[in-house]
């Protein structure tokens, strides 16, 4: 291998080539097996160098600091710290983490939803761009309500789930997380239903990963109405508008 290639290799590894130099070297790499092999071996050492570090104890408060800071920058709900319950709705960010495990009755949930949907039906009639709020990074999302999802027969199923109703600048979203659901076959999906007075509105479909976990976010738009329960069924395919299969989880 030519000497100039050794030097370039090191400069490349060190990230000290400019964009043009990088491209030129990468073109060379596609043609030169010797350089590729040398680079591969040097990278092995490079990747091992970090492990001469001492492993330090992480400061405990750091997790909350990091998650809160990220929330302030990007509008993510922070989720760090302990799980103590709280009864009051406070918009202060540090209290948001206590929401995750607060329980409200279904009735009060319906009232909150009704109030919100009235406020936001009104706004949508004015032509305000409500759904656009859902995408903005500088608008903090706030948990309005938390729901626990349980199987119809807990003796037969270890599935479980949680749903969070989020208010982001007047846009309502339902975020669901499930675990322990059975694996799907073929075209099967799990389908979410928003239930009100016995009628069921399609809340979307999802599939689970090999460990039975699934995630879904449903943006509640102006044409939807409040719900007082959530159900999840196992469907033969994603095309249904009414439940065809059995319920696997629900509030």
């Amino acid at each position: 291998m030519a000497d100039s290639h050794y030097e370039q290799l090191i400069a490349y590894l060190a990230g000290e080539l400019d964009d043009k130099g990088k491209r030129t070297f990468e073109e060379h790499l596609t043609a030169c097996g010797a350089c590729r092999e040398e680079l591969r071996q040097l990278e092995q050492v490079w990747n091992v160098l970090p492990y001469s570090m001492e492993e330090e104890e992480l400061p405990e408060e750091l997790k909350l600091e990091v998650m809160s800071a990220i929330n302030q920058v990007t509008g993510t709900p922070p989720k760090a710290g302990d799980d103590s319950g709280s009864e009051t709705i406070v918009s202060h960010k540090r209290s948001i983490r206590r929401f995750w495990h607060t329980r409200y009755s279904v009735a009060s949930a319906a009232i909150v939803l009704l109030l919100l949907s009235i406020a936001w039906y009104g706004a949508s009639q004015r032509g305000d761009p409500i759904p656009a709020e859902a995408g903005r990074l500088d608008v903090p999302a706030q948990v309005v309500n938390t729901y626990r999802l349980n199987p119809p027969d807990s003796a037969k199923s270890s599935a479980s789930g949680q749903a969070w109703l989020m208010n982001k600048g007047g846009s309502l979203q339902l975020v669901l997380h499930t675990s322990g659901l059975s694996a799907l076959q073929g075209e099967q999906v799990y389908q979410v239903w928003l239930i009100k007075d016995g009628s069921r509105l399609n809340g979307g479909t999802f599939r689970v990963d090999p460990s039975g976990s699934g995630v879904l976010t449903y943006v509640i738009d102006g044409k939807d109405r409040p719900f007082d329960a959530i159900g999840i069924t196992l469907e033969p395919d994603p095309g249904g508008t009414q439940p065809r299969g059995n319920k696997v989880l629900g509030t």
Binding site: L42, V73, H177
Partner: protein, 191 residues
């Protein structure tokens, strides 16, 4: 808790699932913090680096592509780049290293490189310390200045009053010696 792979967590992070960011934090924050502490023995500095690294993960628009190599190597490269950037700011030096390693820079390596338990990391640390004993003082010093303190090869050459080529060559030699030592450890059949 289900065992998601790092790649799965990263794609959930790209979908703004904040619990996945928390899971990655639980998995890797200690390594990131410890790495930062080695570059600059300052707790606040290290905390800032952790925050910058995880903010960076959160704001990436795509998940992690395993063609980039093993996640932990890529994560530590990002950590190094961020730590060095911060260090250079402190020293009022211009930016040297980009945040994102290019695809070639992270070729899939062998399992030795990403120890996933404290025990295997301690063992690896021992091996590296043994390998370091085969370096000359100027080689070891170069690695410290270059890898851990973020000085560029040109800056180091100027500081020593040497040609840049000499410094590059010394770095190459140092890496080759370490590689030889670590490879012979593997060949002895230590699993």
């Amino acid at each position: 808790m289900q065992q998601y792979s790092d790649e799965q967590l990263m794609s959930m992070i790209a979908n703004k699932q904040s619990w996945a960011l928390e899971a990655l934090y639980d998995r890797y924050a200690r390594l990131v913090y410890s790495f930062a502490m080695k570059t600059n023995r300052d707790v606040q500095f290290a905390k800032d680096v952790v925050q910058l690294v995880f903010t960076r993960l959160w704001t990436m628009e795509v998940g992690f592509d395993s063609r980039r190599g093993q996640f932990v190597n890529w994560l530590l490269t990002i950590t190094r780049n961020i730590a060095i950037d911060q260090l250079r700011k402190l020293r009022k030096q211009p930016t040297a290293v980009p945040y994102e390693p290019s695809v070639w820079e992270s070729v899939a390596g062998d399992p030795l490189e990403s120890p996933d338990s404290v025990v295997s990391r301690m063992w690896l640390k021992q091996q590296i310390e043994n390998a370091y004993r085969h370096l000359t003082e100027s080689q070891a010093n170069l690695l410290q200045l270059f890898y851990w303190e973020g000085f560029t090869l040109s800056e180091i050459a100027n500081r020593n009053g040497e040609p840049l080529g000499t410094v590059k060559n010394r770095l190459h030699q140092a890496l080759k010696i370490l590689r030889k030592q670590l490879a012979s450890v593997r060949e002895e059949g230590i699993d």
